[in-house]
Symmetry: C2
Subunit: 436 residues, 2 copies
Amino acid sequence: MRRPFAARDRASSVSRRGLFGLGAVSAAGVAVAAGGAAARADGSAGDASDLSARLAFGGSGGTGFASGVVPFTGPHQAGIATPVQDRMHTAAFDLTTTDRVAVIRLLKDWTAAAARMTAGHGVGEGPIPIVAASPPDDTGEAIGLPASRLTLTVGFGPGLFEKDGADRFGLRAQRPAALIDLPHFAGDSLDPARCGGDLVVQACADDPQVAVHAIRNLARIGFGTVSVRWSQLGFGKTSSTTPAEQTPRNLFGFKDGTENIAGTEHDLLDRHVWVSGAEGPAWLAGGTFVVMRRIAMRIETWDRSPLTEQELIVGRTKGEGAPLGGGVAERDKVDVAKLPADSHVALVHPDANGGHRILRRGYSFVDGSDGLGRLDAGLFFVAFVRDPRTQYVPLQSKIARNDAMSEYLVHTGSGLWAVPPGVTGDGYWGQALLEG
Amino acid sequence: MRRPFAARDRASSVSRRGLFGLGAVSAAGVAVAAGGAAARADGSAGDASDLSARLAFGGSGGTGFASGVVPFTGPHQAGIATPVQDRMHTAAFDLTTTDRVAVIRLLKDWTAAAARMTAGHGVGEGPIPIVAASPPDDTGEAIGLPASRLTLTVGFGPGLFEKDGADRFGLRAQRPAALIDLPHFAGDSLDPARCGGDLVVQACADDPQVAVHAIRNLARIGFGTVSVRWSQLGFGKTSSTTPAEQTPRNLFGFKDGTENIAGTEHDLLDRHVWVSGAEGPAWLAGGTFVVMRRIAMRIETWDRSPLTEQELIVGRTKGEGAPLGGGVAERDKVDVAKLPADSHVALVHPDANGGHRILRRGYSFVDGSDGLGRLDAGLFFVAFVRDPRTQYVPLQSKIARNDAMSEYLVHTGSGLWAVPPGVTGDGYWGQALLEG
């Protein structure tokens, strides 16, 4: 009688890709015949059911594989300028190792898993291992779900380069000058447990179960190397990155992101988002920076404000989203001089910021209640910028001091990460940094 | 010159339904002409943009109204046996009043708002009031979104009938005998801030923004009468209530709810879910009880268990969901005697519980992280039962003590509410109780 592990040995020569899709039928079939039954020597699960489960899984799991896939490889990471999906699950991780090799292994394993999951496949051998006595490589809750336009985007926080004064991984010299520690802004009420993180991974998808599955499996892969510092679920994207789409509404009920940079505006992306090879460090060329801010919105107070006041605070009409001061349609030109000086649009508009623009990808959140009889709701603000020192810090400093909307906002979480370029070929996230 | 409020006076004779849909074009047009400009005497918002916004809103808001509407009225409340939507936002409220009239007003206003929102309309006059100097009746973030099969389901907790020994609203005598205070179960680790509540409202929809909008607007209406005790967002329904649908998977990666009662099985619903007129109290005939349990899942530990062990714990195969002990397909008959005695299915199957069944409507949740490097994830368990004393308490007592799965579960929130029957005609939620 063959040992169960013969099945695993044999399977390792089969394409991992094939194992999760239709290719799994024959591979798993062989495996069941070879080792599946032995692995369940307790006899409680019949061989027939075992085989059937694997066949049915491979079949039903195959339906959505070809649809809704955002390419994982490319010069830039997906999830930045690619069309914004409806749901997000973002997690920040702290490295619990001081071993650079472990970090490299983590990033290699994460990259391989991300490539599979964004293509609609399970991690590794998938949720139904060849040897049933092993823990599955994949947790299984996404079986049968399509790729759902899943994107996974990784960022490197200051702690990867230096933590408590220590150069844990020999990367201190590679820290980008623009990867600053964000200053304190007026009105900040930051919860340390919602701030920072050595690594961040943003998962966006059209189905929250797919986004959650992805983060959870990366956390699982990282067991022993990273621990989850915080995680945030978001729904109802608040920024469009495709010009034809209807602009979504934030929890103030207003359209948000009318003047966002579109993923198709390559010249604007080059100017405002992508780090060029010239400015360095070299490993970051084609990458960017991401600012994340968890912004609690005092929606109960907002809801008791008259429509007029709400519109004066925003600087646009609520229904259409037209700029105040003469606009009749959402995309009519904004004339900053005609807006109330303390309105949100007057302060954040590129015309009032030396032409600087940011690429937003925010989501609404509701995290239960605040213990004071109100919902804990708000905006999880995500912005990609080429240089946070010139694009985000001055903007947020100004908003925090002068924006009439600030009265309704409390920033409770914060972080800044350098986002490496995309992966090509057999590379992995951050390879140019780790092997540089 | 007419006073602004002339517009509101005039509008009050217009159907509320009309104001949010295409009918709003003429009504709002009249209103803008009559009073809108005066209401914005500050001049910062031009009349033209104002009018355009309202016209465009009425137009664009109308697109989805006819689609995805679950009827609000009927003998039973929607959101129980109607098809399960993909997303949930549930909130529990505590009454901050001791005035029965205020409770009646609240339930009347909630009913009117629920009827409008479930039909895809805004609350009251909608998010763009006739008089812009007033706070909008509706918070606006659902403008342009379809009804998304929104259902709103209300329940009455023990606190409505008696609180701290006081008969606040003269309803003590109407408390159903089955509306017990749930006992402590083995393994409970309940957070009081996630338990109970005088009232509960379950919002289910295909779009979380629609569900959140509904709860938020009910909270807004209740300002001064109720405060939010807790709220819970859920995604990825874990139970199907339509037999043709694929059974969804919970965060253990297994199909969940294979043997749930289908909304079309009227005889089973009559037997296991709906309270009859005979058993009383009379006001509850056609209603039911809802048990909600927030169950944190130790997914990190689960994920390190071998597939074999996971399947023995559940009692079904992971891929297909076939019952162990000879089954090959999900819906093959379960033979409890052939399952491991401590498996979940062996313990919860109707054959092991005197034929008792429950109607489940659970959702997965991820509420950030647990502060220990893990995701705070799990199942928000929702079950509708005719009598919790015979259907839920014995079941949960048995599971908590014997179920092999209990090792991976921590119950952190809990509540039981009596769910009044549906609304018909001009009635309101709980009318037979409040006016009985």
